[in-house]
């Protein structure tokens, strides 16, 4: 039995909401593209664009576990972390482990590439195009579409790796990572380091990030 006080906030609401919306959107985006429902694909894609933007901003002004700077510093101890993993001396990390930080950067990079190329893509018939494709020629738009298609495979590979890693932690290391990504909280006792960095919710910063990313999306949509 753990009381509410001993369960601390690891992932704030914004991180969790963005994460699970992406989980829903990626298959929908893939499906709508495969089936040629381009109107839906564009709506989902613009939503994904907003989520990626928000996550980027949240990485700068968000809660401690959301911010990129501490994640970059964590990557510095990658060697020690992997060494511990191999000796099965694994301990829980508060926030992103060095490997998780790498994974987040790779996934965000692939998602950012995907939404950016999508904005400029043109289909082979010149009938469908992203909201910013007016800025580029037919040929350039086709190249963006080619990268868009190629990069999806890279993104799918990273997602596969991510899910495999979660399963490995669950079954081999007996560390359950899905629960905290849903509830946001984990028992304080799970973490050996003390004191933990301050990870308070930041409602004003969250509002600012949401407004800013929404404004960017609207600006792109109303372009031209």
């Amino acid at each position: 039995m753990t009381s509410e006080a001993s369960r601390i906030l690891v992932w704030d609401g914004a991180i969790r909401l963005v994460h699970w919306l992406m989980v829903v959107l990626v298959p929908l985006l893939w499906w709508s593209a495969e089936e040629g429902h381009m109107d839906w694909h564009k709506s989902f894609g613009v939503t994904m664009f907003g989520l990626v933007l928000f996550r980027m901003i949240w990485g700068l002004i968000g809660t401690w576990t959301a911010r990129f700077a501490p994640m970059v510093r964590r990557i510095g101890s990658l060697k020690t972390y992997i060494g511990d993993l191999r000796r099965r001396e694994h301990g829980a990390t508060f926030g992103h482990s060095p490997l998780a930080a790498l994974s987040v950067f790779a996934l965000l990079h692939a998602l950012a590439t995907q939404v950016t190329t999508g904005l400029f893509s043109v289909d082979v018939d010149g009938l469908e195009s992203g909201p910013l494709a007016v800025l580029v020629s037919f040929e350039a738009g086709r190249q963006f579409a080619d990268i868009h298609e190629l990069n999806f495979n890279f993104l799918a590979l990273l997602i596969g790796l991510h899910i495999t890693a979660i399963a490995f932690y669950h079954f081999v290391l007996k560390e359950k990572l899905v629960g905290p990504m849903i509830t946001g909280r984990r028992a304080r006792a799970a973490f050996s380091d003390s004191p933990l960095p301050e990870n308070r919710a930041r409602p004003l910063a969250m509002l600012a990030a949401a407004v800013l990313s929404f404004a960017c999306v609207m600006a792109v949509l109303n372009f031209g």
Binding site: D123, L127, E128, S129, P131, A133, V134, F138
Partner: protein, 171 residues
Amino acid sequence: MRLCKLQIILPVVAGLTLLSACGQNAETGGVSEAASVELANGMTVKEQIEARQSHLKKIGKAFKTISDQLKAGSPDLAQIQAAAASVPKEATGMTDWFPEGTGPESGVKTEALPIIWEEKADFEDKVAAMQEAAAKLDTVAQGGDVAAIGAAFKTTGGTCKACHDKFREDD
């Protein structure tokens, strides 16, 4: 010991590389042979395929111009009209672009599916529908009513899609 192994492996690898290179040569040789067959219209298969791809690409470019302008707050009518006028011209004689022997069996890179020649009548109907819609789009475009142009453009795009869905390899 290690050196010995390397001495065996290296020639084997070199031999295999040479062999595969030969195989590739033989293959491309076969391809270019079918591709250079002369058609009744005097073009080679390769020339015919490239010519139709060039026409279709120009239509794609014209469609992008129209679609860009229709999306814009204040569409540039002159650009739309020029693009719309080019489409029926580029699409003239489209059914003749697909003589027997210019499908994927020629070995030339093409997304044209064999079903074009198996269901020739349906293919020709669909091409005619596109040509008719494109002619109408041109007429409407010269009239200058943006809403009507949008509707005619959608109809024309639909005729492209109807044919591509059935007769073109999935992109």
